[in-house]
């Protein structure tokens, strides 16, 4: 793009965010100091399913330092129950006859509690210490009801009901496919059928959820500081549920310490806190502690796939059939998002003519769930890529060769799969070169040499295995995101967008885009993301969408503002816009650079300019609506070492070859991939949210919920190819989630490869985490080793 002179896009510009953060001068919600703010603690259900038979908050209410205690009866007429925005079903998918139950979440539970951790009462006190003391003084008795935790049990006949007012435990159901999978399977030369599950995870951003609300005593307007990923959605939820005008609610996402999906789901606490601030006329804040984060904030990923893949004798896939269950937790909070994402990404980069997939979202008496980085794709990829490895073993073919034979080719792009996408429109992959991804991954991991090393006796008793996984990711979901750009009084350029950052570096990447499209130095740009008072509409940063949607909106707004500035300068300079140029913040007459005006001079001159349009001029808002998804893709290859004596798995070499369109900031992009891979490695090797059969969470600290540490993550090697997306002018695709999609499958494939090489062990890995004890268990259970 030659008109975009400075050329920031495509360069590893250092992040503008960092200096402040390394000094400890970040501004996270918990860091804000609002005078007189009161603190909140919640009484949460200790029962997975019960009726509250007695709730007595009187001692808590009268404790010194307690400002207020709210229970269900106090708020039932005041706050409308929460109905998540994601429950909408697009018309195309509605034709498939899905079930998608709208189950409003009670603001505070009473009498029925449906999971451990559900908020029952809210205490507001002078400090968090006192609020927690007061929670201890609340007396509560329960009459237990039968609870169901396991998702297969929850859909069994005669299962106890998760919600006593419902007819069954199905929250979501949808079935979709093409061709005739049953017939193709019946006639196929090779068929593999097995069950692969992803265990329950939690996003666990290092900063927990937090919210601080303050009401202006004069106007009554609310200011809300939040760690949300979706500030505008939160604003609308607050406005609707406590019945104030959206104009009078200003949500600001300040520095946010990671989100990964957990903070993209609005929860009742985020409605209660603003309500209390209004009700009490006092600033109120709630900062979740880690116990709340691990037990009472959204969980994710738990799925069971009963998958069948069929191929001809040459390994050409003829059919994929999958029936899978998604554990929704106690409420259907995000509808089709995760189940349908899993469904429409399952077959991924492969060409398969016959597909039949049935997704069921199952309610259980566990904490509600949200999308987590990848949102159904890592789970689907785990099932598909594990099944492909079993198929390769069955046929006696190198797993990477089996994949190669089935990939959609670059010459087939744009490729219509014959299925419907998440919007209910024909699913089309816009661009990509999957065979190239795979061949580079095979080269980089040096498959022949790994195989050779495997054929000699293991060094130090450690057995190595190699595994691959491929995936696609339809990124940049709409419907829109916006950018407002303006010239400020001092002649700087400011960008406002709803797509705030939780660490992705938007202040840098969006400034790069704007600097190019508008024509100033990056140093003259400020990015303000996630302040709803600065741009009327927005969605937020979820689903690998920010760069595609907000990035292109920024580019558009930059172009519009540039024209606006030239028009205004023409009025002021009494010349013709076509004779003017804007470069590094200075507008000059083409050919006579001495006749010029700076942006600061211009903005001051505009109101005085005779004969102008009368419009203030120097601000533009633009919304970008992506016409289709931008489909990113990747091939992961990994070598692991397994210690047979201890069951310990080490990742010794990890390779990612990815394709995500044009790259705005390579260093930031690479780091997104690496961060995602690390989460995937943690997911398959150690992370697991565990409930006992009665619904008690057993993993409520970081001592129990094992997070990946530095020593588990090797120096990941990256390569990329670039197939610019035709769906948007920047040619970009989203890549925030991609890194997390491949590792569970690739590592499980590698570990199984290692285990199968041990003395004829006959093992199949069906789920994670591959902790040492589980690996030892797999070996112990292997029939051929016993």
């Amino acid at each position: 793009m030659s008109e975009e002179s400075p050329g920031y896009v495509g360069r590893s510009v250092p992040r503008v965010e960092d200096e402040r953060l390394v000094r400890g001068a970040g501004r996270f919600v918990a860091d804000l100091h609002v005078a007189d703010a009161a603190d909140v603690a919640f009484l949460r259900s200790t029962q997975a399913h019960a009726l509250i038979s007695r709730l007595d908050t009187s001692r808590a209410r009268s404790m010194p330092g307690v400002i207020a205690v709210y229970e269900a009866a106090d708020v039932v007429d005041q706050i409308t129950p929460l109905v998540a925005a994601e429950l909408r079903v697009p018309p195309g998918l509605a034709e498939l006859g899905p079930i998608n139950k709208v189950q409003p979440v009670p603001i505070l539970a009473n009498p029925e509690v449906t999971y451990v951790g559900q908020p029952v009462a809210m205490v507001v006190a002078e400090s968090r210490y006192l609020a927690e003391d007061a929670v201890e003084l609340i007396e509560i008795d329960y009459d237990e009801l039968p609870a169901v935790v396991d998702l297969e049990l929850a859909v069994a006949p005669d299962a106890p009901l998760v919600l006593i007012d419902e007819q069954d435990n199905v929250g979501v159901h949808i079935r979709h496919g093409k061709g005739d999978a049953a017939r193709a399977i019946a006639n196929a030369a090779v068929v593999v059928a097995d069950t692969f599950s992803t265990q329950r995870h939690v996003c666990a951003p290092l900063e927990t959820r937090g919210i601080l609300a303050e009401q202006d005593p004069f106007s009554g307007a609310l200011t809300v500081w939040s760690s949300t990923q979706t500030p505008h959605r939160l604003r609308d939820h607050i406005a609707e549920s406590i019945d104030v005008l959206a104009d009078d609610v200003r949500v600001q996402a300040v520095d946010v310490g990671g989100g990964f999906g957990q903070k993209g789901t609005v929860v009742v606490e985020e409605l209660l806190v603003p309500y209390a601030a209004r009700h009490l006329g006092r600033p109120v804040r709630w900062i979740a502690d880690r116990y709340e984060n691990l037990t009472a904030d959204a969980h994710a990923r738990e799925q069971v796939h009963h998958i069948t893949v069929a191929a001809d004798a040459d390994g050409k896939l003829v059919a994929v059939q999958d029936r899978f269950l998604v554990n929704l937790g106690a409420r259907n909070m995000t509808g089709l998002v995760v189940p349908y994402n899993a469904l429409c990404h399952l077959v991924g980069p492969y060409q398969v003519d016959n597909v039949d997939i049935e997704a069921t979202g199952v309610l259980t008496n566990t904490t509600f769930t949200s999308p987590y980085r990848g949102a159904g794709r890592p789970e689907a990829t785990f099932a598909m890529e594990r099944a492909l490895d079993l198929l390769a073993i069955e046929i006696g073919m190198e797993p990477s060769e089996l994949r190669r034979r089935n990939l959609i080719g670059p010459e087939q792009m744009p490729y219509r799969t014959g299925m419907l996408d998440r919007r209910g429109l024909p699913q089309e992959y816009d661009s990509g070169d999957y065979p190239e991804l795979l061949s580079r991954a095979v080269d980089m991991i040096d498959l022949p040499s790994v195989r050779k090393r495997q054929s000699s006796p293991p060094a130090g008793g450690r057995v190595i295995g190699v595994g691959f996984a491929m995936y696609i990711e339809m990124t940049g979901s709409g419907p829109f995101e916006g950018a407002r750009v303006e010239v400020t009084r001092s002649g700087r350029v400011r960008l406002y967008t709803g797509a705030s950052s939780q660490g992705q570096g938007h202040r840098t990447t969006f400034a790069q885009i704007l600097a190019d499209s508008f024509g100033v130095d990056m140093a003259d740009i400020d990015v303000v993301a996630g302040d709803t008072s600065r741009i009327p509409d927005g969605i937020g940063t979820v689903a690998s969408r920010a760069l595609v949607t907000a990035g292109n909106a920024t580019r558009q707004a930059g172009h519009l503002l540039r024209q606006r500035v030239l028009d205004a300068a023409a009025d002021v300079m009494e010349s013709n816009p076509a004779d003017l140029e804007l470069n590094k913040g200075i507008i000059s007459v083409v050919g006579s650079p001495t006749k010029s005006i700076t942006l600061a001079e211009l903005i001051r001159a505009v109101p005085h300019a005779p004969g102008g349009t009368g419009s203030d001029g120097l601000s533009e808002t633009s919304y970008f609506r992506p016409p289709n998804y931008a489909t990113a893709s990747g091939a992961h290859a990994v070598v692991v070492e397994v210690e047979p004596l201890t069951g310990r798995v080490s990742v010794v070499d990890y390779v990612v070859v990815h394709e995500a369109g044009r790259i705005v900031n390579p260093r930031i992009a690479d780091a997104q991939i690496v961060g995602g891979v690390a989460q995937g490695i943690g997911g398959i090797l150690c992370e697991h949210i565990v409930y006992d059969p009665s619904g008690q969470p057993l993993t409520s600290t970081f001592a129990d919920y094992a997070m990946p540490l530095a020593s588990m993550i090797p120096d990941i090697r990256l390569d990329e190819i670039v197939c610019p997306s035709p769906t948007n002018p920047l040619g970009v695709k989203g890549l925030g989630e991609g890194g997390a999609v491949g590792p569970p499958a690739a590592i499980a494939n590698a570990v199984e490869d290692a285990l199968r090489r041990m003395a004829g062990a006959d093992v199949t890995i069906r789920t994670g985490p591959l902790s040492p004890s589980r690996v030892l268990g797999l070996l112990a259970a292997s029939p051929s080793l016993n």
Binding site: G10, V22, S127, D216, R250, Y291, G503, A671, V674, V722
Partner: protein
């Protein structure tokens, strides 16, 4: 912007404990980032809350309050400790250094802070202060640090965003364990 008291300046404001807090009080005298501070604190006040809420030093973050994540790490008499596991009265007579006290006297970031910026060693920045404290204490040690020791120390902290690779590279560089990062991936990347 709605008025907010910025809590990150070098101003020191000692708030009295809430009147309704009924635990016993203690007079403590401590050095915080080189400055002498005297304060009255309640028995059960966590050191993290003393630093963050009473002194406005919000650079010390709280990721778990369970001693697991390392975000709250500060130097207690030059030794890295988890400030969420100590009570304010326990530090009477001791000295504390927080992330706000890491920069050089003239305000330039220290070598580790600069290395984090140069190597993209942070994304959200929430884990960063704790890691900077731990790694700066390594860097300030007289005995040279080995790669193994570095890896051991890195495992003291959880970072959910970065996957640790750039943190490790930043630390290796600042500790003199590897040459500076080569600007390998600049320039437009286009076309397969």
């Amino acid at each position: 912007m709605t008025e907010l008291t910025s809590t990150t300046s070098s101003r020191r404001r000692i708030l009295a404990p809430p009147a309704s807090e009924s635990t016993a009080r203690h007079e403590i005298a401590v050095q915080i980032n080189g400055e002498a501070i005297e304060a009255e604190v309640e028995s059960r006040l966590l050191l993290t809350d003393f630093l963050r809420e009473r002194l406005g030093l919000t650079g010390t973050h709280v990721g778990c309050e369970q001693g697991s994540c390392g975000a709250c790490t500060v130097l207690l008499d030059d030794v890295p400790i988890r400030s969420c596991l100590l009570l304010a009265p326990q530090i009477d007579g001791r000295s504390i250094r927080t992330v706000e006290g890491l920069a050089e006297r003239d305000g330039t970031p220290n070598k580790m802070q600069q290395a984090f910026c140069d190597h993209h060693g942070l994304q959200c920045g929430f884990c960063t202060p704790g890691l900077l404290i731990t790694l700066t204490s390594l860097a300030e040690r007289e005995v040279p640090v080995t790669l193994d020791e570095l890896d051991h120390h890195l495992d003291s902290s959880i970072c959910r965003c970065t996957g640790y690779m750039n943190i490790r590279n930043a630390a290796r560089y600042a500790l003199g364990l590897m040459p500076p990062r080569v600007e390998d991936r600049s320039g437009e990347r286009d076309g397969p």
